[in-house]
């Protein structure tokens, strides 16, 4: 197991290196001279020259990358061109908001997706199964920003139950915080719930055909106990690992959800930065999410080995 984990960790380093090259390369796609964007109305050649020197834009591309990656490794993601603040600071302020949203969405996805998947597998080829599959497919096909708009229309505009937008930090007032985030978290979680549902169903169908389930039934255990204690426990192994991977998808989906519900998180920051042509922030966000995703991937692998007793001794 140690050898496998060591090899897996070693694989992460070149991947992260390539991610950093890719993120750095994004800047090269930008039309025009970044110094001109940064200078705005100021077109004085001396000012432009100074900007180029400060950003090392006058250096060869390899040197620019080395300068950038050295700073990144020291926790310096650059300086926002628009807000005039370090990108690391901006990320540190906005990331907790998105993590709260993603965490709540993850719990909602688990609570909806896993029981629906179990029900679908246990009642295979019945109307329960067909309905659960239809709900799953609908969840996968629904654009979450549209679902968000429809929820605002129903829950906030018509019923007046929850605020349509805004955000209150957990530390300030936890009740208000939940009131402002529960609807966006539900919207964000439904797509992942559908993924959980499909995977749980498929894992449960496999588990229910195994010998140990047959033995448990033969011993005279009740069906409920067989399903929850024997089949589900084993079926959850791939679902747990999948869960770690889906956190990356949640970070991505948060971009749209935060836009719809005006939540000042990570996702809204990237969209605002795109329109302000604040490229260091865009680069910083892509780099941080990609790194988080690579690490979650690694965590998923480690979890898989740890949970699966057959691999533990390998």
């Amino acid at each position: 197991m140690r050898g496998h984990l060591g090899a897996r960790i070693a694989q992460v380093i070149p991947t992260l290196l390539l991610v950093s090259i890719m993120v750095f390369g994004l800047q090269q796609l930008m039309p025009g001279d970044p110094a001109l964007v940064l200078a705005g109305e100021e077109r004085d050649p001396l000012v432009l020259e100074q900007i180029r020197r400060e950003l090392k834009l006058d250096q060869p591309l390899v040197m620019q990358y080395l300068y950038w990656i050295t700073n990144v490794l020291q926790g310096d993601l650059g300086f926002s061109w628009r807000i005039r603040q370090p990108v690391t600071e901006l990320v540190a302020t906005k990331l907790p908001v998105t993590l709260q949203l993603a965490g709540m969405a993850f719990v909602i996805a688990l609570v909806l997706g896993v029981p629906l998947g179990v029900l679908s597998a246990v009642k295979k080829n019945t109307w329960w199964d067909y309905s659960a599959n239809a709900i799953g497919l609908a969840g996968l096909s629904m654009p979450n920003f549209w679902l968000g708009i429809m929820m605002i229309l129903l829950v906030s505009v018509h019923l007046g139950w929850l605020p349509p937008s805004g955000y209150v930090p957990l530390t300030e007032d936890w009740r208000q915080s939940l009131a402002t985030t529960i609807m966006p978290a539900f919207v964000l979680g439904t797509g992942i719930a559908a993924v959980f549902m499909r995977h749980t169903r498929s894992a449960m169908l496999t588990a229910l055909q195994q010998d140990y389930v047959r033995t448990a039934r033969a011993k005279g255990l009740g069906e409920m106990k067989v399903v929850t204690k024997h089949a589900l426990r084993n079926a959850l192994v791939p679902v747990v690992t999948l869960g770690a991977l889906e956190m990356g998808t949640l970070l991505s989906g948060a971009v749209l959800t935060e836009q719809v519900f005006s939540i000042p998180g990570f996702g809204k920051m990237v969209v605002d930065s795109v329109f302000n042509r604040d490229y260091p922030v865009v680069q910083g966000v892509v780099l941080v999410t990609a790194t988080v995703y690579v690490l979650l991937n690694l965590l998923a692998d480690i979890l898989y080995v740890m949970i699966n007793p057959r691999l533990r001794g390998a």
Partner: protein, 298 residues
């Protein structure tokens, strides 16, 4: 005993009948036996027809504004109402189908065109080439799909064309993986060994003997990817990074609808329903294709 002997000729007949059918014909038969996939296909064809004949079908000019028709609720004259500039929503949805389907098909064509040859190369050559390509794919897959597409669209500049390129590039690594896996699988077949033993050059073995075998999984992936690409285009347009106004697109229609939720909710209902319906249909077709082309995966 008699039952066994009676059933033997029938079974043999069935085997002979199925043997006489081509695998493609059998796959079509399996696909058509699934009602969900057929319904999905009908809806996809419907949207393709609507997008193709948009100029003939749309009752009004999708960009023509009218100050007297601002935010009118659905009526006999305007089945889906009018928007904040007095434009007919139904006409904009009909024209918007063009942007969505074009974005879906073109971006997936880019992803397939780039991803499949690379995946074929990685799977066929193996060794260091495979390892390098594998690492590159891992790196590209590391950035969440939408965030990478947003970043690419942002750096390339907002337009439908750039959104399609961004989605195409972002979707490429999945096709590399699918093509690589299918190539490795196909390369173990006896006829590939035979083709090699006969002295065929490697490129010929890859193109003539392996490529046709990786088409089914690529086709399934492409259908599902079109669904993903349509949502991605709608998302980018919703954020203002795709189709630019006044040209109609379902995503940008939802963006402007947000400002008039209380006064004109129909502006948000219809474009979203169109995205949902077309994406659901592509997913149904993709699932049906997967079951038809690889019955083991069912």
């Amino acid at each position: 005993m008699s039952a066994t002997s009676a059933s033997t000729p029938n079974t043999a007949g069935a085997v002979m009948a199925s043997a006489s059918q081509s695998p493609a014909r059998m796959a079509v038969r399996r696909f058509m036996s699934g009602p969900a996939a057929v319904v999905g296909l009908v809806v996809v064809v419907f949207f393709v027809v609507v997008a193709t004949f948009a100029p003939l079908i749309a009752p009004f000019d999708p960009v023509k504004t009218s100050w007297t028709l601002i935010r009118k609720a659905p009526s006999w004259a305007h089945w889906m109402g009018t928007d904040e500039n007095g434009r007919d929503v139904l006409s904009r949805i009909i024209w918007g189908a063009r942007a969505s389907l074009l974005a879906g098909v073109i971006s997936v064509t880019i992803a397939t065109g780039v991803g499949v040859p690379i995946g074929l190369l990685a799977g066929f050559v193996g060794g260091k080439t495979d390892m390098i390509i594998g690492r590159l794919v891992d790196a590209m897959l590391a950035a969440p799909f939408l965030i990478l597409a947003i970043a690419l669209a942002a750096f390339l500049g907002p337009s439908l064309q750039n959104a399609m390129i961004a989605i195409g590039i972002t979707a490429t690594p999945i096709f590399v993986r699918v093509a690589r896996g299918a190539t490795i699988d196909a390369a173990t077949n006896d006829y590939v060994e035979a083709a090699r033993a006969l002295g065929n050059p490697p490129w010929r073995v890859a193109v003539r003997h392996i490529l046709p075998n990786i088409v089914p999984p690529v086709m399934v992936q492409a259908t599902l990817a079109i669904a993903g690409a349509i949502i991605a285009e709608a998302s980018l347009s919703f954020l203002g990074l795709g189709q630019q106004p006044p040209a109609p697109s379902w995503g940008s229609m939802l963006n402007s609808a947000q400002r008039f939720l209380t006064q004109a909710p129909w502006l948000a209902v219809f474009p979203g329903a169109a995205i949902f319906l077309v994406v659901l249909s592509f997913n149904l077709v993709g699932d049906g294709l997967r079951d038809a082309l690889d019955p083991r995966a069912k």
